[in-house]
Amino acid sequence: MGSNMAECHPVAFRWPLKARTDHDAVLMHVDPRFTRTSAACNLHVPIRAGSDIAFLGALIKFVINSKRWNEDPFFREYVVNYTNAATLVNPEFRDTEELDGVFSGLAPDGKSYANATWSYQRNQAPPKAKGGVGPFSDLLLQQVPGRPKTDPTLQDPNCVLQIVRKHYARYTPDLVEKVCGCSAEQFLKVAQTMLDNSGRDKTANITYAVGWTQHTVGVQIIRAAAMLQALLGNIGRPGGGVLALRGHATIQGSTDIATLYHSLPAYLNMPDGRKKHDSLKEFILTEAGPLATSYWGNYPKFAVSYLKAQFGAAATAENDYGYDYHPKITGDHSHMPMMLDMAAGKIKGFFVMGQNPAVGGQNARLQRKALAKLDWMVVRDYFETETAAFWRNSPEVLSGELKTADIKTEVFFLPAAAVAEMEGSFTNTQRLLQQHDKAADPPGDARSDSWFTYQLGKRLQKMYADSASNLDWGIKNLAWDYEPEAKEVAPWRIKDEPSAYKVLKEINGVTVADQKPLATFANLKEDGSTACGAWIYTGVIPEDGKNNAARRKPDQWISPNWGFAWPANRHIMYNRASADSQGKPWSEAKKLVFWDPDADSGTKDPAGNTVRGKWVAPSGEGIDFQPTKAPTMVGKDAALGFDWLSGNDAFIMRADGKAWLFAPAGLVDGPLPTHYEPYESPVANRVYRQQSNPVAKVWRTEGNVYHGVADPKYPIVVSTYRVTEHHLSGTMSRWLPWLAELMPELFCEVSPELAAEKGIRNAGYVTIVTARGEIEARALVTRRIKPFVIDGKKVHEIGLPWHWGWQGNAKGDVANDLSAMVGDPNVSIHEGKVFTCDIRAGRKGGRS
């Protein structure tokens, strides 16, 4: 669901298809369209775009009401031990069932939630303990809350399972039929297959991609899948899980080592002026306090080591490791508000590197017009992208809306090196770091992206070298030395590329004193003696001269010696859950990590005897747990991290060590996934009075006009998506004649039924209109697209792959000219997978 794997990740699809042909695995595709993925699956169930939570919620209800789930001891053992099903929630909590579509805690203006009522019931806090590994841990220890209360019989009405049961009570097959537009029979087939293929001997996997994320309820859709998988015992086990298929070579790396406004590397939050982040101590307490009983109990080490990597010797305990000089965010600075602020003239200078917002940006017309407000812009790419050329030949310039002479933006185009022309590492969608070596110098003045940033930094540092201002302390004291060793650049014409090895080594982390790499993040310190760019990557360079990302020894299964999977070469996260509560494998077929009571733990008891028992993985898989914590061991109450966690707390990054069916924290739009209609929908929400996500990110400004619910002017649902033959905004594919000829032009997929209604001819032109823009495309009339009957009303959907722009060997209008800026409240991802529009036969401006 939410993924068109065969088309967008064709090579990854090799494996499920192999499972189908060689092992009789059942592949099911739940998707609005019949795609190349559907064609390869046993079953395709079409559901209306944006109705995923209704479908998933009904799956959850089906599972927890099924006879097998209630009788097979496997499910109870897994759920009671590894999820928070038994945990008791604040009795003040009110569910959507009681408040007709919203949860308790909604602010009077209806735009945000306070989550106090979503919290756990807890025991008395333990007596305040001392003895942390450093000053920050000491403070955290003072704050450890009492353990959550539980009811292992799962009967308490406030226990999570009962809340979940109640929440999804009305998500019946009948509701699925009415909301999703598929038959109850098709739904039941999916549900039964999921259940039949989960258990001790079998696991089922759910794979998604941006088909789930690009919604105003994107995070909640994925949560719903995670809940289903947790209930089915499919997490932390081989063949199970919820797999995110991400779209770019190192999009995972860009998230891990975030070039994202809200995040520091390795998932530390960005200091925020709106939060209690006024000093490093407060920052750590605010951020780590609620998490300190998980592995995040080590947060102080991560934060201090990050600052040490940032400012080097200038970062000292006395100056809070330079924390005061680190910038703070003050709001949502993500892509969409960034472009809106640019349109408002707030932003003067813009670096665009390997990105093409003139095509790929939501409401792209608005984004292109925003570029014209800049004083300067630097574009780094291979080709003259639409973004680079916006001032020259964008639709706005051609239509006269913008005049080239009036655009005062100073534009720099810097040619970029291709991947084969530089050394570096990528992190793939499975968190696997892989090294790519340099094969040749890039042509002419083309340079690697690292070169650009490094050389720019060197220049700036020189310019600020004489500044005595506090404001410039950060750039002046930035640790910025990645000069290549002579042997690194010896074979090449270009001698001033920064050393990729030195950068990765800093990301990995070193001990400050001798600059030796850290072998594991367990060696990090919170006293400033270690520097580490991104703690989750520690271990990629375990010792000088050894780069685990460059390991290239495959095997038939997990291939632990191929690249490096963060964290600590763990390929399957939370893999402690692949063994039962006693540490024994659930079954021979699904054996991965288990407790070997006879193995030498490598430690000795005070008497000097060898302590026996440790977690083992014969496949070489990294163990995502404390290696010597026995399954029966009970955690300490007044402790941090692993010390607090018990031998059964497989989900070590959660403060209670459990997989969350109910999310007491971390989400801004509710603890349980709930069906809301997309922000623009042709139908009213049939499940609740609340139409759409109440706290969705909405920007009502000029040029970003939204359509109403069931807006008669825009009755048709449109999804944007990708095809195999192109890559995203097309910069890396539309300029390649080999790919251009495979998919030469923007097209719009239309059902024959809609085509008949509108007089659309196959291969003829259609014009698609929203309040944001108007584009034309070639029509592809196909039964792979179907109209849905939603609660008795016919709802037409059309599909628009969005790869095209006006530059390159394959051209077409910009599909994103139609989309609106509206986003998920948790992560500010836009809703590109479903919005409304109108379509008519013929070209733009009435030409036919």
Partner: protein
């Protein structure tokens, strides 16, 4: 490729089965010679460098072949990779054309404010100019403190050490190392409009 005429004929007639003999060499010419010649095909070869596909996040292994002259002559799947086992999708298979492409720009282009054309400029000049603009824009728009809502309807003065005048938007096909350097530099400069394709 030493293959006797007799053997060759046997092979072909075996393969042809009941068909008519496909060709007749007159003057007792050895038909195998032609076949053998066709068989001695030269093959692209050179130094092989391990790489990773630049497109999606599946992370397929690639092998880049470099000629003696240092030119990339071939890019295809790495059969060792447990991810793709030598296979590639159409985009991955086209990587060679991404690198070797007539339309690829390899010089710095500059468009002056209000101008209607690109001009070529030296890389050094562009870097100096960009650094200068960055410094100028940052210095003119740097915020040490800012009044922010205190949550009780009022405001409170907070140290923010940032600038809203510079924004950065990065793609997600650029190295981890770049991501690290870039966030490091941007944070050092106080840039908070720091975004990446990774959001979507």
């Amino acid at each position: 490729m030493a293959i006797s005429r007799r053997k060759f004929l046997k092979i072909t007639s075996g393969a042809i089965g009941g068909g008519v003999a496909a060709e007749i060499g007159i003057l007792n010419v050895d038909t195998a010679a032609a076949a053998a010649k066709a068989g001695k095909a030269p093959i692209k070869s050179g130094r092989q460098v391990a790489s990773i596909c630049p497109y999606c996040a599946v992370g397929c292994g690639q092998i880049v072949t470099v000629s003696d002259a240092g030119e990339i002559v071939d890019i295809q799947g790495n059969p060792d990779s447990p991810i793709n086992q030598g296979t590639l999708c159409p985009k991955g298979a086209a990587t060679y054309q991404l690198v070797k492409n007539e339309q690829r720009w390899s010089t710095v282009k500059y468009r002056a404010p209000g101008s209607d054309r690109w001009e070529e400029r030296p890389l050094e000049w562009a870097m100096s100019r960009i650094a200068e603009l960055t410094k100028k824009t940052r210095d003119a728009n740097f915020n040490e403190f800012q009044d922010l809502p205190d949550g009780k309807g009022g405001t409170v003065r907070k140290r923010v050490m940032n600038t809203y005048a510079i924004a950065s938007l990065g793609g997600a096909t650029m190295d981890n190392e770049w991501n690290y350097l870039h966030q490091k530099l941007m944070h050092a400069l106080g840039v908070v409009y720091l975004e990446n394709q990774a959001r979507i």
